[in-house]
Symmetry: C2
Subunit: 248 residues, 2 copies
Amino acid sequence: MLNERSLSVSQECAECPIRHRAVCARCESDELERLEEIKYYRKFEAGQTVIWSGDRMDFVGSVVSGIATLTQTMEDGRTQMVGLLLPSDFVGRPGRSNAAYDVVATTDLVMCCFRKSPFEELMRQTPHIAQRLLEMTLDELDAAREWMLVLGRKTAREKIASLLSIIARRDASINMTTAHGNIVFDLPLTREAMADYLGLTLETVSRQISALRKDGVIELEGKRHVTVPDMSRLLEEAGDDADGGVFA
Amino acid sequence: MLNERSLSVSQECAECPIRHRAVCARCESDELERLEEIKYYRKFEAGQTVIWSGDRMDFVGSVVSGIATLTQTMEDGRTQMVGLLLPSDFVGRPGRSNAAYDVVATTDLVMCCFRKSPFEELMRQTPHIAQRLLEMTLDELDAAREWMLVLGRKTAREKIASLLSIIARRDASINMTTAHGNIVFDLPLTREAMADYLGLTLETVSRQISALRKDGVIELEGKRHVTVPDMSRLLEEAGDDADGGVFA
DNA sequence: GCGCAACTTTGACCCAGATCAAGACCGCGT
DNA sequence: ACGCGGTCTTGATCTGGGTCAAAGTTGCGC
């Protein structure tokens, strides 16, 4: 999730953002054909659960369009988002039979899936697929650890700025920037989902977003449409180095 | 880090906890021989830095004995531990040339290292090594995400109990349990290091440990020697299911 | 156009944990 | 034995963010 690497690889093919090549940039045509055979699409509506933690998971795949979240929930209902799945992000745990997290679509969602056991069989026969997956998993691990710093040591304001800068950065390669170099995007998450990502309450999220708006760090149109006039200012607010920071 | 899988595999060989087999349980003798050729040991004293974040890292390896931490630090000095390396844990990022975190020995430390480029070459030729590393990385990703829940949503008391139960569980397979089934271990971390792991201050760590002692959840002898009379009680305090919880 | 439900904002107050400060407890080197 | 530095505990106070409450906004179905 949230890494540049899989994104750039996935841009090779127009039909489907994972489109085999996000998994494997070097596959030969017959391997691509075998992937094609075990491929299928799944569509979900906003709010639908893709899979529950603990359920048997007989596929791997990746996000074609829309946004999904990975969350963990304690018995008393406290929940923590542990990952955000944007288009081209990979989902699935080769070698594991059960899902470890709830996966929920927060917008309408299309996924490109591969049946798990033939995929694993192909992985065994095609070594560089495992290597590619290792790289992607290392990227996710980095992102998870960056997020541990955010959760453990940043203030509410810094947390919000960190989340906005991740989305802005990630969206920047998809969305347009205005003539003035502003970054513009729509928040794909409710205040509550942001709170669950950041380890805050939704009220605090709302207050801090208002504060950032008042201070001119961001501009808001409606509740979701965000303009970032000065990205380095936002990164500064996030506590990262202004010149790129941790996600550079 | 902190997973049962690599631990159990590593018990196959007595000479060195990683001993090739932690990397690869199915290697043939000639592959083990090649690993042997590129293997070397490194020793560090308590407090020594193994590698700084951003530095070139030309090895991979694993912990033979002792304990190390992975930490990230912000410019203003706030630090967050993102991983705890116990014996048999793997260190290194195949395919990446630079370290992403500071690695610091918190006790005297022995590591078993492999030179990186021949290791990667061997990995290319021996597909199941990449698969094994993928599994280990997925384990680390799970542990990191579990920790996100701890950092984002648990109270100070629950955080302490979570850390103690991880160490207890992990140490249980190494250390002895007393006749009464008590789990006994020495804390391998200072209060400050615990605070950095948990996103707390060292004072709060100290207070909560005192509170858990007063409430009979743990017993303390000196500052570091811990006895857990009732593991399920500790897991309950951690906010996990009493019957095993998230690390079952 | 109205009403309802989901989402969001804002205010008032409170509390868990941070901060500041003072000692206590070691182990170690001289 | 002593002093010293590192580690740990405990107390007093402060505050960022949580909690509770109320009202504003938006969109959708009828």
